[in-house]
Amino acid sequence: MINAVIIEDEPKAANELKDILEQIRKDIVIVKTMGSIEEASEWFQQNDPPDIIFSDIQLSDGLSFEIYKNIDLSSPIIFCTAFDEYTLKAFEANGISYLLKPMTPAKVEESLRKYDELKAAFSKRQPSANQLEALIRQLRPSYQTTLLINVRDKIMPVKAEDVAYLYYNNGVVSVYLFNQQQYFIQETMDDLESKLNPSTFFRVNRQYLIHRNSIQEIERYFSRKFIAKLFLKTPEPIIVSKIKATPFMNWIKESI
């Protein structure tokens, strides 16, 4: 619905415009009709700005520009007047159209079409909530939640959350699950590191990529290194290198 306000000091002219609007558009609601600067100024200060204003220029107590000069109104205005001498001033005051009286349905329709077009053009620049969400989804990288593992001639899906750690040795990457099972996987450690959610998995060194929940305790080791002890047995101790030590401790502290 379009909320409209009519500013017109002559009752007959106001009625005429109202009739035309109701006749050509079903989606317009005339919320208020006013005839003077005084009345309109007061009303605009106390009410939400309408979607559109139909405004005469010569009102009972002066020129309507005084209203728009004194009140910071964002509503677009369609000026309706019998005089063509105020066009420049009309543009200074949010004027989007200038209707010369006498009014006809065709003229009013034309100016409303312009209103629709401007509205469409301006609202395009403000993305909708849906568009924003889609954009956020796009910007936020999505991580792999399932790994595919070749077991003989079959392919088995394994959920990332079931993976306790990944271990590299002799050119082979092994997947160790929380349920103690072990598989081989074709992908490289670097690939896996980039595909799995970094808030869940951490590459502590060249050989290990470990799940947050697999860590049981961390021991200090010499020269500011750490040893990570897991709930599961590991082929060799997990030594967190000096470079990785601080990021690793920060990662453990950060919540998911």
Binding site: D9, E10, P11, K12, D19, G35, S36, I37, E39, Q58, S60, D61, G62, L63, F65, E66, F83, E85, Y86
Partner: protein, 161 residues
């Protein structure tokens, strides 16, 4: 909107008054003087049009004696004063303009309550009163009287015998 029949009647009436105004303008534009009676009739037609426009915003009272009606005045003098009153003052149902046209032995008096508009149309050159003033001077060697009080604006046109 009124019944179609009443509406049509109203439109005929309106057109009738508009044609009165035009006929008078065409007839008397070359004349130096015109009977007060005729100017009054014309002014009434003009006021009818204004009343249709302003509805209850314009309240008019006319009381001119028979003797004054037989005298004369420069054409459009009375109408110009009415036009000025409406042009410079607020005319609205919330704040009506009260316009009185009366006479005494010496003057035709046009009086209205003073409620000036905040801003005036661009074309206000203040030539109306000046024009009437000059015509009375040239044609009758008389002065019109203009009075402005805190509440009223009054113009007195000398009765020309």
């Amino acid at each position: 909107m009124p019944e179609p029949y009443l509406f049509l009647k109203k439109v005929k009436e309106y057109i009738g008054e508009v044609s009165n105004v035009y006929r008078y303008l065409l007839q008397y534009k070359e004349n130096d003087m015109v009977a007060v009676e005729d100017e009054l009739k014309f002014t009434e037609s003009y006021l009818y049009i204004l009343s249709e426009r302003f509805e209850s915003g314009l309240q008019v009272e006319i009381s001119i004696g028979e003797r004054t009606r037989k005298t004369s005045l420069p054409p459009l003098a009375l109408q110009t004063l009415v036009e000025n009153a409406v042009k410079h003052n607020i005319v609205s149902p919330a704040r009506p303009l009260y316009l009185e046209i009366t006479d005494n032995d010496e003057f035709i008096v046009v009086r209205n309550n003073l409620q000036l508009k905040h801003s005036l149309p661009n074309d206000s050159s203040q030539s109306g009163l000046k024009n009437i003033h000059e015509r009375y001077g040239l044609l009758a060697n008389k002065e019109i009287v203009i009075e402005k009080t805190a509440t009223h604006f009054i113009v007195k046109l000398p009765v020309l015998v």
